[in-house]
């Protein structure tokens, strides 16, 4: 499998009244053709910011992508793209679905026109052709009665329908990468499953690579190929779905896993909840950012940042517990068994 997107040392800062907030601190990863990569973490861990940075949707001067960052799309440097190329890149090569379908559609424009807009822009086709295409796309995302719905305004549709329209907009030009930022968070549970199934089906058909941003591990389990767990603007652990769910090595990942309810098991035990809050990203981080909340925190954790340890082809983790001198601790799995 070849890499379609390669990110190296991505750093993003926000300039606020209180100072520079370093929201993303040196994130590296690559995305392969046709796979689904999930970013998982608490709110404010930098996953959405990373996703937006990939499309250069962050607004300067408030948000700033640091110069040492590198984003390569098919070996092409995204951060140095000219205005024209960037517009083509957005929408035609890479597209994005946002969290809240209630606010992500223009309320005064019909759904059809919002889909047609992308088509006309990137495919250079006429209005009538674009309309035909838009109806086909609506069919693709399984909106009943597409000939009628194409003239509907967003507020006339339900939340699930609107998210389908969002997906239709994103997939209208068959992009190579689809970034889905919490696509199901704002929806009912039953609708969530439908939307995820739809995404899966479309991915199989169109061979799109998907970056899925979520805080819901349940969503990830069924859908993603690989997972990266983010904390305080860094990737702290990454691996295949199996590796993260069954052989995770980072205490933060354990905490995330144990806060997911599992039916039929240990019903009497209280659901785990992690104490404390993530660190303020205005402060410089010289030690492990998770140390203050970590059950296994050691003295070294409060002094130095851990390096990434490679465990397998895919599985890598940043934690001092991997150091040969560190004590053996009882893992989450051993405790559960």
């Amino acid at each position: 499998m070849d890499n379609i997107l390669k990110v190296e040392n991505l750093q993003v800062s926000f300039n606020t009244y209180a100072g520079e907030v370093k929201a993303v601190r040196g994130v590296d990863f690559e995305l392969r053709r046709g796979e689904t990569l999930a970013f998982v973490g608490e709110s404010g861990c930098g996953k959405t910011v990373t996703a937006k940075a990939l499309m250069r949707l962050l607004q300067p001067p408030f948000a700033e992508i640091k110069p040492q960052s590198k984003i390569a799309f098919n070996d092409e440097d995204v951060l140095s793209m000219g205005k024209k190329r960037l517009r083509q890149y957005r929408g035609d090569d890479v597209s994005m679905i946002f969290q809240d379908p209630m606010t992500s559609l223009n309320p005064t424009m019909t759904c059809g026109r919002q889909i047609m807009e992308t088509l006309i822009l990137h495919k250079g086709i006429t209005k009538a052709q674009a309309r035909e295409e838009a109806i086909k796309t609506l069919e693709l995302v399984k909106i009943p009665d597409p000939e009628k719905r194409i003239d509907a305004y967003p507020h006339q549709l339900s939340g699930g329908m609107r998210q389908r329209v969002m997906i239709a907009i994103a997939l209208a030009c068959s992009p190579q990468i689809l970034i889905a930022d919490e696509p199901t968070t704002a929806l009912d549970v039953t609708i969530q499953a439908q939307i995820l199934d739809l995404l899966q089906e479309l991915q199989d058909r169109l061979e799109t690579s998907i970056i899925l941003v979520t805080h819901d591990l349940g969503v990830v389990a069924n859908f993603a190929d690989r997972i990266q767990v983010m904390y305080a603007g860094q990737v702290i652990e990454r691996g295949t779905v199996e590796e993260i769910f069954h052989q995770a090595r980072h205490p933060y990942t354990w905490a995330l896993l144990s806060s997911v309810p599992k039916p039929g098991r240990e019903t009497k035990k209280e659901l785990y909840s992690l104490m404390g809050t993530p660190p303020d990203l205005i402060l410089p981080l010289t030690s492990c950012p998770f140390a203050p909340r970590c059950e296994f925190c050691m003295n070294i954790c409060k002094e130095r940042m851990p390096k990434e340890t490679t465990l397998s082809d895919e599985h890598r983790v940043s934690c001092w517990l991997q150091h040969p001198m560190a004590p053996k601790v009882e893992t989450f799995y051993e405790r559960q068994a």
Partner: protein, 308 residues
């Protein structure tokens, strides 16, 4: 939808009836009576005729009924100061003049105000923004008559470019229109700026950018329409502002508009003229408000369908 319109129109008629009744009885509750100061010097017999002519010899409620009956026929009575001058006719003759000046000021004010608001929003926190906000603040902090005096002084007296006052030639319109449209410019520049900034922060603008639209396309296709629609709702207030501003401007530039006559009727104690003009203004505003609301309903898809 039709039911809603019907409801609104019936409320409008109710409002009008209340306003007319209120105006009528308030005017008649002036201590003494409205003709007292004018009739003081008249001999007894003439006085009685004078009162009879304006129907003031009958009981109050009967006067009201007569007034309403005449009103339906479009007859607002006769001026008590200038005998023989019909109030309705004065309104018919003078209102086109006011409408020309006011309408022009409204159009100019809207165009300039909206453009300035857009500029201020796009160049937020840089000098164009500060300049626009300075103009906007001038427009709301300086009374119209002070502004008019300044303009007359500089453009007419000092520079001699335009006539100080008068009516009939196109150049007579220039200064009054500029003075009148200042308020609209100020209100709209401020409103459009904040409304545009709000829309720019919406999620669907991010969607539009993610589609690959250029910043220009994002602004023209997605930002403009959404930020301009709510601006229609403050139009009714601006129309009122233009008319009340016209009271001052018409007097200062000697424009024979309805505002000019309204103010002089107040100063001359011209009871029937004041009453008639107030009723006319109130009716005009109530109707304007309704029209503005309907226009808003027609152009905003969310509201149109919420009414169904």
């Amino acid at each position: 939808m039709a039911q809603y319109i019907l409801k609104r129109i019936s409320y409008m008629i109710l409002t009008l009836l209340v306003v007319i009744a209120m105006t009528f009885f308030l005017m008649r509750s002036i201590p003494g009576d409205p003709l007292a100061s004018l009739a003081r010097a008249l001999p007894e017999q003439t006085k009685a005729n004078f009162y009879a002519k304006y129907g003031l010899d009958k009981p109050l409620f009967q006067q009201y009924l007569i007034y309403m009956k005449n009103l339906l026929k479009g007859d607002l009575g006769e001026s008590v100061v200038y005998a023989g001058r019909s109030v309705s006719e004065t309104i018919i003759q003078t209102s086109p003049v006011s409408a020309a000046v006011g309408g022009l000021a409204l159009i100019v004010g809207l165009i300039v105000g909206i453009s300035l608001g857009i500029v201020a929003a796009l160049y937020k926190n840089s000098w164009p923004d500060y300049l626009v906000m300075f103009i906007a603040i001038l427009g709301i902090t300086i009374p119209v008559f002070v502004l008019a005096s300044l303009f007359q002084y500089f453009f007419s007296v000092k520079l001699g470019w335009l006539p100080t006052s008068g009516w009939g030639k196109p150049q007579h319109m220039v200064l009054p229109v500029i003075v009148l449209c200042f308020g609209t410019i100020a209100t709209y520049a401020r409103y459009i700026k904040s409304s545009m900034l709000e829309v720019l922060g919406q999620d669907y603008i991010l969607t539009a950018r993610a589609k690959g639209l250029s910043e220009f396309q994002v602004i023209t296709r997605h930002v403009m329409r959404n930020s301009m629609l709510p601006a229609i709702t403050i139009l009714a207030g601006r129309i009122v502002g233009i008319f009340t501003g016209a009271f001052v401007v018409e007097r200062m530039f000697s424009i024979p508009g309805i505002g000019f006559y309204y103010i002089s009727s107040i100063n001359n104690n011209d009871y029937s003229m004041t009453l008639g003009t107030t009723v006319f203004y109130a009716a005009l505003f109530v109707v304007m408000q309704l029209i503005v609301d309907f226009v808003y309903m027609l152009v905003d898809p969310r509201i149109r369908l919420a009414g169904d």
